[in-house]
């Protein structure tokens, strides 16, 4: 009896390093050899896609790269596919970031990949760089763009940019997209753009913030959201550009499965222990 209890104790207090190694293995294998599991498409992603699809050509869209390098693996694929769709639809994106390195990430990882031939900087898209000061900075940007970003990412005065001639405040935006991993995040965008200027908002969410976004989507303050890498994968399928997100989702699935199995084992150990105890007691 006590022997089986010893094993159960060991399972319950498993060395965490065993879990860690399991995690590494279960993520590495699908990356090397993907399984191609089907990806059902969520309603919230479709509603984001439809909204962008229906915007008239040439509409100005604000894209908030509210992430640092660390959030990139999750938010980058969403930003990339949004930007690709925006360029495909001939909309005019304005890139900004309240994170110190967001605008740089856009220049390094998104634009070179997603830009279409014939698009000219300053006419078809602009990168206004970093907005310091958190929500205060965003509020100022919304009421007058040049108040916090007099020059763009490359140091050109904003007045000299062709596209910005008729765009002075958030009232000129037809849509705002924010992909954020903290502050500034969807809440700041909601308060400063949507509530104050009525700009529709699409959120490229981290899966962890989805529970916080769902109530806003339910109350129709957010027109659509994509849910993390999963959402990016769904969007890639919707726009017929399957890429990184679709390929990586298998690894996510296998990780979830392994964690679930671990949880089951942990609980079985508890139940079994209770059973053993009961038997010893009688």
């Amino acid at each position: 009896m006590s022997e089986s209890k010893g094993i159960l104790d060991k399972i319950e207090n498993m060395d965490v390093r065993i879990i860690y190694i399991l995690v590494i293995i279960c993520i590495a294998i699908p990356i090397i050899r993907p399984m191609g599991l089907p990806i059902p498409i969520s309603e919230s992603t479709i509603s984001a896609y439809d909204f962008i699809n229906k915007l008239p050509e040439g509409s100005v869209v604000l894209v908030g790269f509210e992430t640092g390098a660390a959030g990139w693996p999750e938010l980058g694929p969403q930003l990339n596919i949004f930007m690709q769709h925006i360029f495909d639809r001939n909309l005019k994106p304005i890139i900004v970031s309240g994170n110190v390195d967001g605008a740089q990430l856009a220049e390094m990882y998104t634009i070179p990949k997603m830009i279409k031939p014939g698009k000219v900087y300053g006419e078809d898209w602009v990168n206004l760089g970093y907005i310091a000061g958190g929500e205060s900075g965003i509020a100022a940007f919304a009421s007058r763009i040049t108040s916090v970003t007099p020059r763009d990412y490359f140091g050109t005065p904003v007045e000299d940019l062709e596209m910005m001639k008729n765009v002075t405040s958030a009232a000129d935006f037809k849509l705002a997209i924010v992909c954020s991993w903290g502050t500034p995040g969807h809440a700041d965008y909601l308060r400063q753009y949507t509530t104050k200027f009525g700009v529709p908002l699409i959120v490229g969410a981290q899966t962890t913030t989805v529970p916080a976004i769902v109530p806003f989507y339910q109350s129709k303050q957010v027109v659509g959201y994509t849910n993390g890498l999963r959402g990016a994968g769904e969007y890639e399928i919707l726009t017929h550009h399957p890429g990184y997100a679709v390929a990586s989702l298998d690894a996510a699935s296998s990780y979830h499965l392994v964690v679930f199995v671990l949880i089951v084992i942990g609980n079985l150990a508890i139940v079994a222990k209770r059973f053993v105890k009961k038997k010893e007691g009688t």
């Binding site: 390098a69 959030g71 309240g98 310091a132 000061g133 958190g134 929500e135």
Partner: protein
């Protein structure tokens, strides 16, 4: 005239804003005049003394952090939790000094560091040990910019190396919460945590011995400071909660009667 000055659609929000602010102000005034409301018992608050006691027994330091938040450019909920965390820092620092435990606090922003340093210095002065306070030894400053990764790395690494007896995580947190709390769990720390973010409360429930969930953090701060104003503002929250609950119930009833649109329109002025 009024129409042109008042921003359209902001009438009801303005009224709500004024109702909340005025009711809170009144509650604070009542409290400061001696009608201090009692705050319900919080097991996690009681655990603070136990946690410090354990550190004294083992002879190892107490670690404290409010997480990677600052007052500048953050959300109101965050500022509120940070302020509560700082109030609790003052309380715990006094407790540590009176019992003979060493408290070491980690912070991530210069503004917060300035404030924490003042709190700790004040606490040492109060205990008559003003000379023993040294910022370099009692405050660990791990600067961060946009990502809390360096802070998480610095604090988790330190906990693994120094193995403090007790770990307090009280304040607003980002993802560093889990990294630090897991490091504390594996280093065998007694952990008391509290935050106003739902997501990170869930983390703490898994790793910590006692957790203050959401507003319980504000309540603990009010208990710790013994400040009637803070207790009054908690009463203010409760008063406002009453009309919020009532309005939801009324709204549901009105919807039952089929007049939802009228009410929503009325509330959207």
């Amino acid at each position: 005239m009024v129409d042109t000055i008042l921003v359209p659609g902001k009438t009801v929000p303005l009224i709500v804003f004024l109702v909340i602010v005025v009711s809170m102000y009144l509650m604070m005034r009542y409290a400061s005049k001696g009608k201090v409301p009692t705050i319900r018992t919080l097991p996690a608050y009681g655990a603070i003394t136990e946690a410090v006691g354990r550190a004294v027994e083992v002879g190892k330091p107490v670690h404290y952090t409010t997480g990677t938040y600052t007052f500048v450019g953050q959300t109101a909920g965050g500022s509120a939790a940070l302020t509560a965390g700082l109030s609790l820092l003052a309380y715990i620092s006094d407790l540590c000094l009176s019992k003979g435990a060493t408290l070491i606090s980690s912070c991530a922003y210069p503004e917060v560091m300035t404030i924490e340093s003042e709190i700790l210095r004040g606490s040492y002065l109060k205990a008559g040990m003003g000379d023993e306070y040294a910022e370099v030894e009692h405050l660990r400053y791990v600067p961060i910019v946009s990502s809390c990764a360096p802070f998480a790395a610095g604090v988790a690494g330190w906990i693994e190396r120094e193995k403090p007896a007790t770990n307090f995580l009280l304040g607003p947190f980002f993802f560093e919460s889990l990294i630090i709390a897991e490091a504390g769990y594996h280093a065998g720390c007694f952990q008391v945590a509290g935050t106003t973010s739902a997501g990170y409360s869930a983390f703490f429930l898994a790793c910590c011995d006692y957790v203050l969930i959401g507003e319980e953090l504000y309540a603990a701060a009010a208990l710790a400071t013994n400040d009637p104003i803070q207790a009054g503002s908690l009463r203010g929250n409760d008063v406002n909660r009453v009309w919020i609950i009532a309005l939801i119930v009324i709204g549901v009833v009105v919807t039952l009667l089929g007049m939802k649109t009228a009410l929503v329109n009325l509330l959207s002025i």
